[in-house]
């Protein structure tokens, strides 16, 4: 059965200017990674997409970023269609992928500058923007070192800085705090809350339940490509009779171990 957010959330959401996913299907041969996903994320909303391994979270993010073409369905970001207007969308998105994708032989600062330059930022703005972001993510002391020597947490923070350098209206974060120590994670949370306060639309996937609970306005739980739950953290806990969010997740997705994502 197709899961529509309105059935769970109880009210229609105005998706104008936000992200609208309508009947998204993504197949890899016989495998259905995303199965008729319908979801609207409001402009300025902090949305967490949770699910076990292989649930379809990363595939959904990749479709939203234009890295994968949907098998069927429509997806629009800020009113632009991902299949026909990706050029316009790319100007306004920042993506922090699951892999720690940074250029190993550039310094942290050069990695961030490169992405600013690819977004066409003028030199003066780029300089201020880079130093601002490096400061916010506590990277100043490491920014001049070759990235190859960074720890996993440091690499993740640089990766996040690269996603933010163009000051995007839409931010897609695929497990951004993996490999970070609690201090770094808290610092990132504070910065993400600041970004949310500045009106950014943020889509986060994570395996840390407390991260989703702490940061997200709404949470969607996806399993086997289908959206199985959607709501604010209190709504979902209340609806499932659980006292913490991890119990909600286990109750909805089961205790079985899952295969890795496609």
């Amino acid at each position: 059965m197709m899961a529509r957010e309105t059935l769970i959330h109880g009210q229609e959401i105005n998706g104008a200017g936000g992200i609208v996913i309508d009947g998204l299907v993504k197949r890899y041969g016989d495998i259905v990674a995303v199965d008729h996903l319908c979801l609207t994320i409001e402009k300025g909303e902090f949305f967490a997409l949770l699910g076990p391994n292989g649930a379809g979270k990363t595939t959904t993010i990749k479709v939203l970023c234009g890295l994968l073409n949907p098998t069927s369905g429509n997806v629009s970001i800020g009113g632009f269609d991902v299949q026909g207007e990706m050029g316009k969308i790319k100007q306004n998105i920042g993506v922090c992928p699951q892999e720690s994708s940074i250029f190993p032989y550039l310094t942290g600062k050069e990695n961030v500058e490169l992405f600013g330059e690819l977004h066409g930022l003028p030199k003066a703005i780029l300089k201020d923007r880079v130093s601002g972001i490096l400061g916010k993510l506590f990277l100043e002391d490491h920014a001049g070192r070759i990235a190859q020597k960074y720890s996993g947490g440091l690499t993740k923070r640089v990766s996040l800085a690269m996603a933010l350098v163009n000051d995007p209206a839409f931010l897609f974060l695929d497990e951004p705090t993996v490999a970070m120590d609690p201090q770094s994670r808290r610092a990132i949370w504070e910065y993400l809350k600041e970004l949310k306060a500045r009106g950014k639309t943020i889509v986060l996937t994570t395996h840390y339940m407390e991260e989703a609970e702490h940061l997200a306005d709404r949470i969607g739980i996806i399993d086997r490509g289908k959206l199985i739950a959607l709501g604010t953290p209190p709504q979902l806990m209340e609806a499932n009779g659980c006292k913490n969010f991890e119990d909600v997740f286990i109750k909805l997705t089961g205790r079985d171990m899952r295969k890795e994502e496609v």
Partner: protein
């Protein structure tokens, strides 16, 4: 393509190349060490390309006139030429074959009579005693084969008619027989091939770079910015043009330092740099094809040798029959550099232009094939 994005990506590519010890070694250190090692091993130090030519003279003149001695003295007086006297033609021929001299001129027995008949009545060819000088030249140098006959004729004319720029003479220069000399060091013959040799390894660098960036998700990461595939591939092409020019500079510098100093103009060196850069497009094309077929960096390294081995063995300093070499683009690059540096061919000569045309066509074809294949299959 967008110029600012291209510049940013080229900066990134070059910084990554020079900061990665493995790629820095393959692109710069390896050709540098190889050129130095070959130069030292195969003995170019101390050797210089000639600016004067040794002419073996065998004076068979049986007349009482002094014309053959005057002619020999005139040859010796020419600033381009040195005379080496021989009495035995076979010794002269051996020395020519061994590269000890550059040419042989045999003065015929009736040379004195021929010259005297001309001087007695220069306006009556019917009264002249006609004869012919026998000439043998080192076929290994285009400078010698092209330049010496007219220079020797001019010396003869000057001997008989001082101050004249042209005149009919009873003495003609026979068609020169070309003798292959082995005067140059082995390194002199290898040096032109080193330019292509260095560029060939760009194939591996390009293939590894693309596959590594694909493996690490870096290409995807660039794909979610406004940068296009054309920007990414264009930046690779440009950064490899820069690397190829640097390689050519390194080989030129080291080979000069170890004694390979062809007596050619700046235009010849400029042409070699241009050809290095054209050849780098061929390397980028082969690298993209390799990257398309490779699933990981190790596979890219291994597969790149499918291109590297034939390009090295058929088209660089390894001597193979030219009809086999003509199958690979590196042959045309090496042949053009050899023509420019060893054979003394002018930049605009048909040999060099033909080599350049083939190299441009093949490099452009391989580059386009690489781009199309990679865009269709490799970036997935």
């Amino acid at each position: 393509m967008n110029a600012k994005r291209l510049y940013a990506l080229v900066k990134k590519d070059l910084k990554s190349t020079f900061r990665n010890p493995a790629t820095l070694f393959m692109v710069i250190i390896f050709p540098l060490v190889l050129t130095l090692a070959f130069g030292l091993s195969f003995g170019a130090i101390g050797a210089r390309m000639e600016q004067t030519y040794d002419v073996g003279v065998i004076d068979n003149d049986a007349t009482t006139y002094s014309w053959s001695r005057d002619f020999t003295a005139s040859i010796d007086a020419n600033e381009m030429l040195n005379v080496v006297q021989y009495s035995d033609i076979s010794i002269a021929q051996r020395d020519l074959a061994e590269g000890k001299i550059d040419a042989i001129i045999a003065i015929p027995a009736n040379f004195g009579n021929a010259c005297q008949s001309f001087v007695d009545d220069p306006s009556d060819p019917a009264s002249w005693t006609n004869t012919s000088l026998v000439l043998a030249l080192d076929s290994g140098s285009m400078i010698i084969t092209q330049t010496l006959p007219p220079v020797l004729y001019q010396v003869l004319l000057e001997t008989l008619v001082p101050g004249a720029s042209s005149a009919s003479l009873p003495v003609s220069l026979g068609l020169p027989s070309l003798v292959s000399a082995e005067k140059r060091s082995q390194f002199d013959y290898m040096a032109p091939g080193l330019y292509a040799f260095a560029g060939i390894f760009l194939i591996m660098i390009v293939a590894e770079t693309f596959v590594e960036q694909k493996e690490k998700g870096l290409l995807k990461r660039i794909n979610v910015t406004p940068a296009t595939a054309a920007d990414v591939i264009g930046s690779q092409a440009i950064s490899n043009l820069v690397l190829a020019a640097m390689q050519a500079g390194v080989i030129l510098g080291i080979s000069t330092a170890v004694g390979f100093r062809p007596d050619v103009g700046v235009d010849a060196y400029f042409m070699v740099f241009i050809m290095s850069m054209v050849f780098s497009l061929c390397a980028v094309g082969c690298g993209l094809i390799t990257a398309t077929l490779s699933k990981n960096t190790g596979m890219a390294t291994g597969l790149s040798f499918v291109f590297i081995i034939p390009l090295i063995f058929l088209g660089t300093f390894v001597l193979v029959p030219s009809d086999v070499g003509q199958l690979v683009p590196s042959y045309y690059f090496t042949d053009a550099v050899t023509s420019l540096f060893l054979r003394g061919a002018p930049v605009g000569s048909s040999t060099v232009m033909l080599d350049l045309a083939v190299l441009v066509a093949v490099s452009a074809g391989l580059f386009l094939a690489g781009v199309l294949l990679y865009k269709k299959l490799g970036s997935k």
